[in-house]
């Protein structure tokens, strides 16, 4: 039973952009809380006075919310009201609050406030410097698995759901002239400019509304409050038909040729599970002619002792919670800053009626507009100082402040302690250059900006605003407009009528380049100073890595795991680099650069997969007779994308019984196979015959109209890759059949050679696989059956083996081929696909008198194996040529043109006598069926590794012969007829077999010639 808590102790009575008329109830750690529409999960938790929202990964230290956006490292939650709707690792600062939201912390036992692992972290923490696991858990060797199971238990943040996802996602392809990324002042201005110029624009922002930094600002633009200016711009943009506005839409990846992905949250910002039919999230796949990156900047916190205690926040986040959500996240604030901008946090705190204990400014001098405003309000400004340490375990209780030297790398003088529950810090800003990095552009360090700027553009990319280090609103607006105009110019569109609105100007003093606040003790002895909060990486850890020789920043990151969390080091990476640089006594650019990879923020697998999973993962192909197969109990086999009948068991039959019945019926009377899936390529043109001669290994020059011929197809290496029968339909017209799985490849193979090598040949290829339904009737009664349904003369005299004739079957036009894959008298009937079912049923109607028996692929395999016919793909694997297969009759070395494969199969290795060659295998015990895949040896007593001589490729029980039949490869097998080969099996048996001809039945081929 959830407890009701209604304790919005930190919510101001007015203000913010929340809708106070729409209260919301949500559950955190099994307790109910209240918030408002417009809250994020983070703002609501802060409003309710929740300090601890998780435990740290390595040391299990209590952690609180530190930021207000995508850069938040700590507030990572398990979301979801039911098992199936669980979402791991949701960032509370980016999750809109909705009624009925349920979330939990991801770590902490027995609970997050009193976590026993915290003691382990405290006690063991000293033994867990970065990379400690590389140095231990090695002895004794046998214990590693035990150690690892404990490491694994401690790993991970949230958990995967254990039930299937009830929600749907989709993908959407988009094209635009200008994609503007980020809806802050620069992005809005760029979008407005491009839109007014007539460009097709997409504006995307990760937040629930446009405005960016302006949403938490009190400044004015164009002589009105900034948020009103935002509203006006958005209203205007919404009126354009050529503008698409996307909120809750994060541009996550910037790929080659201006292809970008936008991950848009839809119902998951309002519901636990999408209401019926609604899409939960959408992934936009955008091809933009130009991209304007206006992604802003993230404020860097400073690194100081115990800077992870709840209550330590980024300065800008404090302002955001106050201005945007009406939440003051504490009572008594200490602000530490290296710059003027962060004074806003103290001003906002003060103006909200709360106590600012002190502003600790690391600079010796400071006198900008904001600084003066602070002084006017009577705040204490401590110059040339830093917060060296905070006290408190579950919340900051007091703050230690000391004077710093000029360089800011040493403490001078004594430490004073003041009571406070919140420390806001700012070390300046880091431009959000992630997307530009995705394109392969290496960022460039700027001493002026104290941050990395986007490197030279590799794409049709423009940048504007804070991501260029242009932090003032005026500069952002101007750069946004310029980017919009540039895009228009590049698109050869006319410039837009737009001007930069008026803004207030602020006097700002130079910021100080400081990242790591020194402590009276050396770093490795000082209290933990966290750099990467999510991965528990400390300044001491970075120094240790450098000390041990991990000097490249990539080594430092990998050794300490800095930046490898779900926040990807948005807050910590630059600080970490600065600490490494300082320790190595080199500059930041000498230490390396920072490379970001997609995604900017994590993206749901389901959203990436879109609709292409489950039923739609890959198309299923069915033949025209599929319904009949279903109704007659067929079991199916996946062959390529096709669902082919495998066998047709009758009630109570085992698979082997069904196969025996199908095999016997076919050889004794007549069976029928749905062969529609075989690839069919219609080949026409005056040079079609010549072309066939080049791509097949055998001769085609003399094949007469009305005749069919079997052919092998090889690569230039001489290895067989497909086979099939090709029929001469007319002098310049052929029908080629291919294997079911090889059809697409064969067609592109033919096209490749025609287009690249022999364009002078006049020949055309058309895939007609789906145009025809193909049914093979096979067995001594097949002719009699066919005669009941056709007007054609199918007698032995007028239609010999390997002939084809046009006729009608069951009243519809058909091509009938007298070819055989079973060795029986056989007819392959091809009719237009839409007549397939009609003819099939007619055959069964007439077939009753002959016990016409349907058979599937398995019986087809058995019947052909009795005859020693190969199946390309089963008896070939890309490493066997026609001679290996014992098919020299299918190769015409005398052809004038050196056909594909001819030269390849004559290379030194291909003419070795001891190559693995396809032979028949007769088990000494006829009742034993060799397993397919069994490996043969000549000496069954040899020790392991045993010299293997080849594998069994096809093996079956032959009901017709009353014994097993098999084919397989044996080294030099063609010269070893009658010799023995042994198959040591997994179960310990060794099966003895004799090498023989692969033709087990009717070696003279009399049955098919009747």
């Amino acid at each position: 039973m959830a407890q009701q808590t209604n304790n919005e102790t930190r919510r101001l009575s007015a203000g913010g952009r929340i809708d106070r008329s729409k209260p919301i109830t949500f559950t955190f750690n099994d307790k109910q809380y209240k918030g408002y529409e417009g809250d994020t999960l983070a703002s609501a938790l802060l409003a309710n006075g929740v300090d601890i929202i998780g435990r740290s990964f390595k040391y299990s230290r209590p952690r609180g919310i530190v930021a207000a956006g995508a850069e938040e490292p700590n507030a990572i939650m398990q979301l979801g009201a039911t098992e199936a709707t669980q979402i791991p690792n949701v960032r509370a600062t980016q999750q809109a609050l909705y009624d009925g939201l349920v979330c939990k912390v991801t770590n902490g036992w027995p609970n997050v406030d009193n976590d026993l692992m915290g003691w382990v972290g405290k006690l063991g923490g000293k033994m867990m410097p970065p990379g400690f696991y590389y140095k231990t858990f090695m002895y004794p060797k046998s214990m590693w698995e035990t150690y690892e199971s404990y490491i694994r238990k401690a790993a991970g943040l949230g958990r995967s759901p254990k039930e299937n996802d009830p929600d749907r996602y989709d993908n959407m392809n988009q094209h635009c002239d200008v994609l503007v990324v980020g809806g802050g002042p620069a992005g809005l201005m760029a979008a407005l400019t491009a839109a007014r110029g007539g460009a097709r624009v997409i504006l995307a922002d990760e937040q629930n509304e446009f405005g960016g930094s302006l949403l938490s600002s009190k400044e004015s633009i164009g002589n009105k409050p900034a948020t009103e200016w935002v509203d006006d711009v958005v209203t205007e943009l919404a009126r354009f038909d050529n503008v698409q506005l996307l909120t809750h839409a994060t541009v996550n990846g910037y790929h080659d040729h201006n292809f970008l992905t936008i991950h848009q949250h839809l119902t998951d910002q309002s519901f636990d599970k999408a209401p019926n039919g609604k899409i939960c999230q959408r992934l936009h796949r955008v091809r933009a002619k130009w991209v304007v990156l206006a992604t802003g900047a993230h404020e860097r916190p400073l690194v100081y002792g115990n800077n992870d205690v709840p209550g330590c926040m980024v300065a800008n986040a404090v302002s955001t919670y106050i201005q945007r959500y009406g939440v003051v996240p504490g009572k008594d604030l200490v602000l530490m800053t290296t710059n003027d901008n962060a004074y806003r946090a103290a001003l906002d705190w003060h103006d909200a009626g709360h106590n600012v204990v002190a502003i600790v400014d690391t600079r010796k001098n400071s006198k900008g507009t904001l600084v003066e405003a602070a002084r006017e309000r009577g705040m204490t400004v401590m110059l040339g100082s830093g917060v060296v340490d905070v006290q408190g375990s579950k919340r900051v209780t007091s703050v230690s402040i000391a004077k710093l030297n000029e360089a800011g790398d040493q403490v001078e003088g004594s430490v004073i302690e003041v009571k406070a529950d919140t420390v806001a810090s700012s070390g300046g800003w880091s431009p959000v250059i992630h997307l530009s990095c995705h394109t392969g552009s290496r960022p460039v360090w700027s001493d002026e900006v104290v941050g990395f700027l986007p490197g030279p553009s590799q794409q049709q990319q423009l940048t504007a605003g804070a991501m260029n280090g242009a932090y003032s609103t005026a500069a952002a607006l101007e750069q946004g407009m310029n980017a919009g105009q540039s895009a228009l110019e590049k698109l050869a569109m006319k410039m837009a009528d737009v001007s930069v609105p008026e803004t207030e100007t602020l006097d700002e003093a130079e910021p100080m380049a400081l990242f790591h606040i020194p402590h009276p003790k050396p770093t490795h002895k000082a209290p933990k100073q966290f750099v990467d909060l999510q991965n528990d990486v400390t300044a001491a850890g970075i120094e240790l890595a450098c000390r041990e020789g991990f000097e490249s920043i990539e080594h430092v990151k990998r050794y300490t795991a800095m930046g490898f969390g779900t926040d990807q080091g948005k807050l910590g990476n630059i600080n970490g680099m600065a600490i490494a640089a300082k320790y190595l006594k080199q500059s930041i650019p000498e230490t390396g650069t920072t490379i970001f990879r997609p995604n900017y923020t994590p993206v749901t697998f389901g959203a990436i997969a879109g609709r292409d999973c489950g039923e739609l993962f890959e198309p299923k192909r069915y033949t025209a007779m599929h319904q009949w197969h279903m109704e007659h109990g067929a079991k199916f086999e996946d062959v390529g994308q096709w669902k082919r009948p495998w066998y047709y068991p009758k009630a109570g039959e085992t698979m082997q019984e069904a196969l025996n019945r199908e095999c016997l019926a076919t050889r004794e009377s007549v069976g029928i196979l749905d062969a529609s899936t075989l690839g069919k390529i219609d080949i026409q043109g005056k040079d079609a015959r010549e072309f066939l001669g080049r791509v097949y290994t055998n001769a085609w020059a003399k094949l007469a109209v009305g005749k069919c011929r079997y052919g092998l197809m090889c690569g230039e290496d001489g290895m067989v890759f497909d086979d099939g029968v090709t029929s001469c339909l007319a002098e310049n017209h052929f029908l080629m059949t291919t294997t079911t799985g090889g059809a697409a490849h064969v067609l592109s193979w033919l096209e490749l050679y025609h287009q690249t090598e022999w364009p002078e040949l006049e020949v055309y290829f058309t895939s007609v696989t789906d145009h025809w339904a193909t049914m093979t009737i096979s067995g001594p009664n097949s002719r009699r059956l066919l005669e009941t349904l056709t007007d054609g003369d199918v007698s032995k005299e007028s239609m010999s083996f390997m002939d084809w004739r046009a006729m009608t079957v069951a009243g519809v036009p058909a091509r009938v081929f007298r070819i055989s894959f079973t060795g029986e008298l056989s007819f392959e009937i091809n009719v237009q696909a839409n007549y397939g079912m009609h003819v099939w049923k007619a055959l069964f109607e007439q077939g009753k008198q002959f016990n016409l028996t349907p058979y599937g692929t398995e019986t087809m395999h058995i019947l052909r194996a009795e005859k020693g016919f190969i199946i390309a793909g089963q008896d070939t694997d890309g490493s066997v040529h026609p001679f290996d297969l014992g098919m020299p009759w299918a190769v015409s070395m005398q052809k004038p043109f050196s056909f594909i494969g001819k030269r390849g199969m004559q290379r030194e290795d291909c003419v070795r006598k001891d190559r693995k060659q396809l032979v028949g295998l007769k088990t000494t015990d006829p009742s034993v069926v060799l397993p397919e895949g069994a490996q043969g040896v000549f000496d069954p007593k040899a020790s392991i590794p045993m010299p293997m001589v080849g594998h069994v490729s096809s093996s079956y029980w032959s009901a017709n012969l009353g014994r097993s039949v098999a084919m397989g490869f044996v080294k030099g097998g063609h010269d070893k007829m009658g010799q023995k080969v042994y198959y040591p099996l997994v179960d310990g048996r060794v099966v003895e077999a004799e090498i023989c001809s692969p033709v087990f039945l009717d070696p003279k081929g009399e049955r098919q010639n009747v």
Binding site: H255, D256, H257, N258, F259, R287, G440, Q458, E716, D717, S748, E751, L752, Q755, T756, E757, P759, S898, K902, R903, G904, R907, E908
Partner: protein, 94 residues
Amino acid sequence: MLHIYCPHCGESRDEEEFHPAGQAHIERPKDPDACTDKEWGEFLYFRRNPRGVHHELWVHAAGCRKFFNMTRNTQTYEIKEVYKLGEQPSVVAE
């Protein structure tokens, strides 16, 4: 993801419609039977594989099914030009 102009269709389309088919301008020896094993092996398997400008063969597999050549930088992935079979590139790999 590459954006490729098909010289046959006259349109730029997504890479997903195309397939790369290896190095361009590899001609099948006129008289294969006269080739040594080494020469045949080199025709079959040995490729330039440069870091930088490269001539490639592509096919508009899910479009017009026609092959064409592409000059592309394998480091930056920039497509310098596409041209039909039988034509010569204007930007030549070193």
